[in-house]
Subunit: 358 residues, 4 copies
């Protein structure tokens, strides 16, 4: 994310709710990392951990998908998009999509120029109508031909696409020969929120490629790029290599993932984070001038609040982002966000509101 | 340009007003091309024609600028922008800018990913305020750092930036260490419209690089990329070569340019085109339901008119573009547009309006 | 070409034999260019000249190929190669191939990183064995996967691949799923030399894409990229557009080509140039210390000669390249090289040799 | 590395000497990683670990350098090179340089086309004469202008450049305005070998940018890109971000580095690895038909041996690479290679030699 995370010096008890990337490795991830460190192993993914983690994803998604591990989300999404289109094609995404707003031109760099065509949409969701309009707007060669729809699950504003949403997008995608890419920066949170299986939420609903974030789910690094349409994965390992995304000691990416998968932490972490966001959301219903901006469907809470109230929070050490419109504030919960921290935030907010006379 | 130029089969007398690129070479350009063909000459710009044309630009602009000849406007603008920033920088331009809407991702391709940040602005003009807001919006590394302002002169909607507009843009550019690029697809028309010298309208008003279009001014091909800040031109000849824009028989690009410069046709062509646009604009004031969308300041006329009226024109062979909003129509005049053709269009439009009961 | 074309100031009678790009437009090309200039026409290739020229190529090649016109050879070859592989693939070519030695990284730029893997080969020809060795050398992902064979016809040293050579290359290409690209900078000269039809020398011998140079064959600009495997041409028009290779007034590229095709000048020009090279070759057999480096099979003559002899030629105004090894000199003949000029060169060479005591 | 690491299934006691990337994290790295995981921390390098590690490098190099952490060596070298030149420039390197032979076109991808110009040189070392010849060979725009010299320290064949070598390279670089990049995949091993300080071996000897590998020195991931000429680092953080090399949880890259620096493990690890290579080298002097290919100056040993001897080793579980010429074998030692393992290899080799009658 971006812009103005008012980051102060670390305090004894971290009041970091700017993003789910301020949390560390969860115990399950650390445990498997340590286990992978017991013995030497083969490089470049030829180790047993990588094989097991890849198979773990195949089990989780109940299909014979192609799995690749890369270092971070910028690379995962950019490489996946580059594999779905050529430089003179375009990618349709929401105007708030992370790939558009917070990657410093990463997708354009990896694809060597594929343009992102943005569409508006309520609650951070791209709509079939928006896609349709973008594809049919023009058909001349001066307009980069749309080839991919990219959607973020959960969205950048903490909402989710349900199965009907996804199927409707697949339908318009089919009509126009578009591939469907899912930026799964918070995919686990979406699964937890909707209580549907990963398979249901991806390939069974028409997703071609998923970038499943481990970093926001309790790892130190490591995103899995998962191709459900295996033909699209052709030579993807070369693409990763050339682009600086082939880890020589790959087991340190894959073993922690295996930890998440084998223990089920991928889901319990997400459920916990979602529950904390809900707790925050619920605790704020009776503060005047603090109003929710979006439904809390995953692990983020977006609130509208006056500037002096924001300042009041910062004064006592809270970090958060303010990038969605005037007066908008985002809090993100993680696998290790405690109920106590949430309650403390609510209390601080109420105190500040009282002090300021709201 | 783009989208829906309803192009029909050629008619005896061409009713092409879709763009100034349907006209051929003007006599002066053809004359010099023929002269350059009399004898063999050195390749890659080491010929006398190229030297003379480059010097011709230095005379015209009253300064010791660096001059490069490339094949077309996509390349001229894209190469110039690529030389002004790195892939992780960004270019601020109007939301209607040709580089944004009609280059199929060309600027992103040549720069390997520099993002275009678009701003709104009345009459096709970017404003200092819009630039300021875009630069100061964010300062984090997830946002590609703005490095260039690109403006089109005359604009994509047939208006011009006057000297005060340009100076105000330079002022904000200086404040934020931005370079100023001018897409001069219709630069000659702007000079003619404002009755100011090329020097006044460029480097004296703060332009760092101008892409001066010959194609729309009476050539077959050939744009001149002119660097007023010579340091920015460092190794630009290598950039052109690598990107497929070094003509081996360069005299066929430069000699026609010399024809325009030595005869003054660059300006008389533009004046004529502007006058034809004005004639059209003036002749339509009394047709109901046909309303001007923008001031006619150069060689284009934008009109709002009902769909059946548009159809009525197409039925009798007129070609034109309809890419600006609902019901918007563009007519572009050129060096060889005749008064008779304009009068014929006006007459046809009146007839159709009458027939349709407007 | 490259390096050290000792280019002097133009002399009354041009003694330019540095390259076939010092010649101008041949009469047939100029005639059609003038005809295309009689009336306005539609832009971006929607004109009748472009249609006719494309059909002309289909006739010439006796097959329903896809035809695209671009500005120059750097672009033609680079775009064609980029369409045949991805950035993490590689292109096998001769170590003297123009794409390797004289494009300033153009192929790598257009493809965003595809590596050229060079192989040695006598007489400028790549061999099946060289290709085989390069493909089978490695199969790991740290080595960019070979996907294309590029060969130049006629070669950079003035020799040609005969039909058996081409078929043998196709055979190894098939075995390793490689596509075959032909850099036809002097394709017409090869046809003339071998006295075989364009169809025989391309798709019937296994060529997938040909870049047919017009510039070296009597045009001012303009190369035709011809896809015999039409599937490889998918969206190539977008690629051209994005990369600055879509001419708005395309008829000025296509009409001169039509002139070459309809009049047969493409072949007569090439035959003439070849004959002049042969005349030069034949005229030098009895000068001591001037020895041929390669067979003269097309329009170039490569000679080994002492440095003082070279200087003697330069002193009387001859321009030529010296880029092939120590003491190697290249002379290239063109459609308008006269027998008188060749005889003059031979005479000058003999005089200098005598004077220097060879 | 590449080609044919004959990798078998893991055995109880790993006989991996294919590369120093089969080893895991050293205890010091793991310790600091665990410490960094105790508390939440700010993202994107705004954490205390990253600050401390960066300062640690400044201390180590005794200068105020700019320090960036990226994920792997492909990215470190490619990004550093891209920051030193433009796409139409070139990089001079040894023909065995990893950037040339084993990055699948990574440098060309990140730089958007900068060509690598390779030179030969004994013992894996590029020479001032080789650089000079490459720069002065041509000066035309068809040849990508040399802008960078890249050298690998220790080299790809296990030798090192001493201070005199480096100063001589700097001298030729200065003469031609070239920047000097050091691929420090095994930089620590070179420091250990030469017993000179990091400062002596880099900026004091004229290195502009060093890519210091942590992965091969005892980390799981993480290379430090260190700019001694700070002007060259301008906006490098944006470049990293765009190219997918900005870790959100950067402390997991930087904290292990801090572990290496604070404990001195960076050097003790390297010394140990070098000593093990020396032990291997020393132990093989009396085996017939096993001959050293290069001096053992760092942590690699290159041996010439018959194919059946190689097979004999593989049969008992040894992994190693065979990519340098016919019959060449490479063994690489690491921070955790034991004397027992080396002795076992020597013994196995002797047994096989005896058995085969050598």
């Amino acid at each position: 994310m971006s812009q103005t995370a008012q980051q102060t010096a670390p305090v004894t008890r971290a009041r970091y709710l700017a993003s789910d990337n301020t949390s560390g490795l969860c115990p399950e991830a650390m445990d498997y990392l340590a286990r992978a460190n017991v013995a030497d192993d083969l490089a470049y993914g030829n180790d047993a951990w990588t094989t097991a983690a890849s198979d773990g994803f195949r089990d989780l998604f109940e299909t014979d998908c192609e799995v690749f591990f890369v270092f971070n989300g910028t690379a995962a999404n950019s490489l996946a998009l580059a594999s779905l289109c050529q430089s003179y094609h375009s990618v349709i995404c929401h105007e708030l999509a992370h790939i558009e707003t917070d990657e410093c031109g990463g997708p354009e760099f990896f694809s060597n120029g594929s343009k992102l065509l943005t569409v508006a949409g309520d609650n951070g969701r791209i709509t079939p109508e928006g896609i349709e309009a973008t594809v049919t707007k023009r058909g001349d060669i001066h307009y980069p031909r749309p080839k991919v729809v990219s959607l973020t699950q959960a969205t950048e504003v903490g909402t989710v696409y349900d199965l009907a949403d996804l199927r409707a997008i697949r339908e318009v995608a089919d009509r126009h020969d578009l591939r469907v890419h899912m930026d799964g920066a918070r995919f686990a949170n979406a699964c937890a929120s909707l209580e549907v299986s990963p398979a249901e939420l991806t390939w069974r609903a028409g997703v071609d490629v998923l970038c499943f974030s481990g970093t926001k789910n309790g790892l130190g690094f490591g995103e899995a790029v998962i191709f459900f349409d295996k033909r699209l994965a052709l030579d993807f390992e070369y693409r990763c290599k050339q682009a600086g995304q082939l880890a020589s000691k790959m087991r340190y990416l894959s073993a922690p993932w295996l930890g998440l998968l084998e223990t089920g932490a991928w889901l319990t972490n997400a459920r916990h984070a979602n529950a904390m966001a809900q707790r925050l959301s619920d605790g704020l219903t009776d503060i005047d001038h603090v109003t929710p901006m979006f439904d809390t469907q995953a692990n983020s809470v977006f609130l509208q609040m006056p500037a002096d109230l924001q300042a009041g929070l910062r004064d006592v050490g809270w970090t958060f982002y303010t990038f969605i419109g005037e007066g908008g504030v985002r809090f993100v919960c993680s696998w290790n966000t405690t109920p106590e921290l949430i309650d403390e935030l609510i209390a601080n907010l109420k105190q500040a509101a009282t002090r300021l006379g709201y």
